[in-house]
Every structure is written in structure tokens, then in C-alpha cells.
């Protein structure tokens, strides 16, 4: 019998990673709060997490020759979507700082929650290994 980290840690590892990505996207929105024509972005968390926990199936460019360039990174992440603003502004910026701030804080709390779950999984594993 062996311990499988994949099974033991479950979804929390992926959740923590996606929360980290989402935090950087929201931080980017907040940094561009005064940039004209900037469009606020966000991740569809549920969809991304479903993709992560399922096998990573993506539409990749087929490489049939060694000098072909792989398509990775050429296009934007399809899961990053644009937010629909409640109050559009004159300069074309769709960042609403209160909403972004609230989402960022919520995301940080959810990150801590995922972290706590993950930490408890590790604690469980170590106590199982010790066998005390």
C-alpha cells in the first residue's frame, strides 16, 4: 500500500493554484483602475477548477515537424473573461474598484480556506506516517 498524493490532497491543491492565479488577475485590474480603455478581467473559477481537476484537455496546435512552434502562450487563456461593468465610464475603463476590491478580498479569504484544508491534509498524512 502506498500513499498517493494525488488522491490524498484532492481538489485543494488545484483550488489553491487557481486562487493564486485569480488573485494576480484581480490585482492587475486594481493596478489599472485609472488606465483609459482598460477592460476588467476575471476567471470563471468554477469552470477553471473543473478543467484542472479533470484531465488537462486543451485545443493544442498539432506539431508535425521539429521546427514548428508550439501554440502555447500564443493565445490568451480562454478562461479569462471580461467583466460587464455596472456603471460604464467615459474613458472606456470597466474597472469598478469597489467590486474588484471586494472580489480580491473574497479571493484572499478563499485562498486561506483552501490553504487550511491542504494543510490539514498534510497534517493527516504526517500523523498517519508516524503511526502514533
Amino acid at each position: 500500500m502506498s500513499i498517493s498524493f494525488e488522491k490524498a490532497l484532492g481538489i485543494h491543491e488545484d483550488a489553491l493554484r487557481v486562487r493564486g492565479q485569480r488573485a494576480s488577475i484581480l490585482a492587475n485590474n486594481l493596478a489599472n483602475v485609472d488606465t483609459p480603455n482598460y477592460k476588467a478581467k476575471d476567471l470563471d473559477f468554477k469552470q477553471v477548477l473543473a478543467q484542472k481537476s479533470a484531465s488537462q484537455q486543451r485545443f493544442a496546435v498539432q506539431v508535425t515537424h521539429q521546427r514548428h512552434i508550439s501554440g502555447a502562450g500564443l493565445s490568451e487563456d480562454p478562461n479569462v473573461l471580461y467583466r460587464v461593468p455596472h456603471q460604464p465610464s467615459i474613458d472606456g475603463n470597466t474597472v469598478e474598484d469597489q467590486i474588484e476590491h471586494a472580489e480580491y478580498m473574497k479571493n484572499a479569504l478563499a485562498f486561506q480556506a483552501s490553504f487550511t484544508f491542504l494543510n490539514n491534509k498534510f497534517k493527516g498524512l504526517t500523523s498517519a506516517l508516524r503511526g502514533e
Binding site: 494576480s24 490585482a27 493596478a31 474598484d97 478580498m105
Partner: protein, 144 residues
């Protein structure tokens, strides 16, 4: 690592906002700087913000989840074309032959609102950076 980029993003935001605060301070300080000709007078200065596009880095960095943009940059500082204030002050030492003095096109009320907006945005970036720091510190305690 996604969390590490937050520091760069919030840092670029703080940099841009402090530059905006700097131009505001310059505008306010020179709001009453008179001049005798139109080409010598101080003009209202404003920074131009733009999002940093990071596509090239995403390709070379081999990170599929790299965001298309990361942070904000200041493209440059533009001088306003708004009409200058031409006042009749014949006793002013800088007055021209007709007795007129040119004052900058700085709108003090606009600059004050700009100042408040810039300092609020700066504050927000500081908070973002702070909570990112907490998140990273929590991750470092994993398994302890």
C-alpha cells in the same frame, strides 16, 4: 508562480500613481507661475497610463496561464492644450507691452480631485500587496 507577479503588478500601480501625484504636485506648485509670453508659460501636465502587455513574455516564459497584461505603465507625460489665462496686470514686472501676463492653464479644482484619486489608488495597491504578502507567508507555513 502567480502570487509572485502580484508584487510586480501592485508595484507598477504604485509607481504609476506616485508619478501622477508628482505631476499633480508640480501643477499645483506652478498654478500661479506667471510669464510674459505664451511659449514660456507652464502648461498643465498629465501622465498617460497604459496596461503592460505581456504576450511576448508569455511565449518565452512557457507559461500557459500568463495573463495578457501585467500591471500598468506610464507611456509619457503630455502637456495640456487648454487655453492659457491672459490677465491684464500692467504693473506686473513680467507684463508685455500691452500690459498682459500669461498664467498657466492649471485647474486647481481638477488637480485636487486628481490628487485624492491618485492617493486612494495608491492606498488600494498597498492593500493588495499586503494581502498578497500574507498569502505567500501562509503558503510558506505549509506542512508545519
Amino acid at each position: 508562480m502567480a502570487l509572485g507577479t502580484i508584487f510586480d503588478i501592485a508595484g507598477s500601480g504604485m509607481n504609476a500613481q506616485s508619478l501622477r501625484l508628482n505631476t499633480t504636485a508640480s501643477n499645483l506648485a506652478n498654478a500661479q507661475s506667471a510669464s510674459s509670453s505664451t511659449d514660456q508659460v507652464y502648461r498643465n501636465r498629465q501622465p498617460v497610463f497604459a496596461a503592460i502587455q505581456q504576450k511576448e513574455m508569455a511565449i518565452s516564459g512557457f507559461d500557459q496561464h500568463a495573463d495578457a497584461s501585467a500591471g500598468v505603465q506610464v507611456l509619457g507625460i503630455v502637456e495640456s492644450d487648454a487655453p492659457l489665462q491672459r490677465r491684464y496686470e500692467p504693473h506686473h514686472p513680467l507684463a508685455d507691452e500691452e500690459g498682459y501676463v500669461f498664467y498657466p492653464n492649471v485647474n486647481v479644482v481638477e488637480e485636487m480631485t486628481n490628487m485624492i484619486s491618485a492617493s486612494r489608488s495608491f492606498q488600494m495597491n498597498v492593500e493588495v500587496m499586503n494581502s498578497a504578502k500574507q498569502m505567500v507567508q501562509r503558503v510558506l507555513t505549509l506542512g508545519q
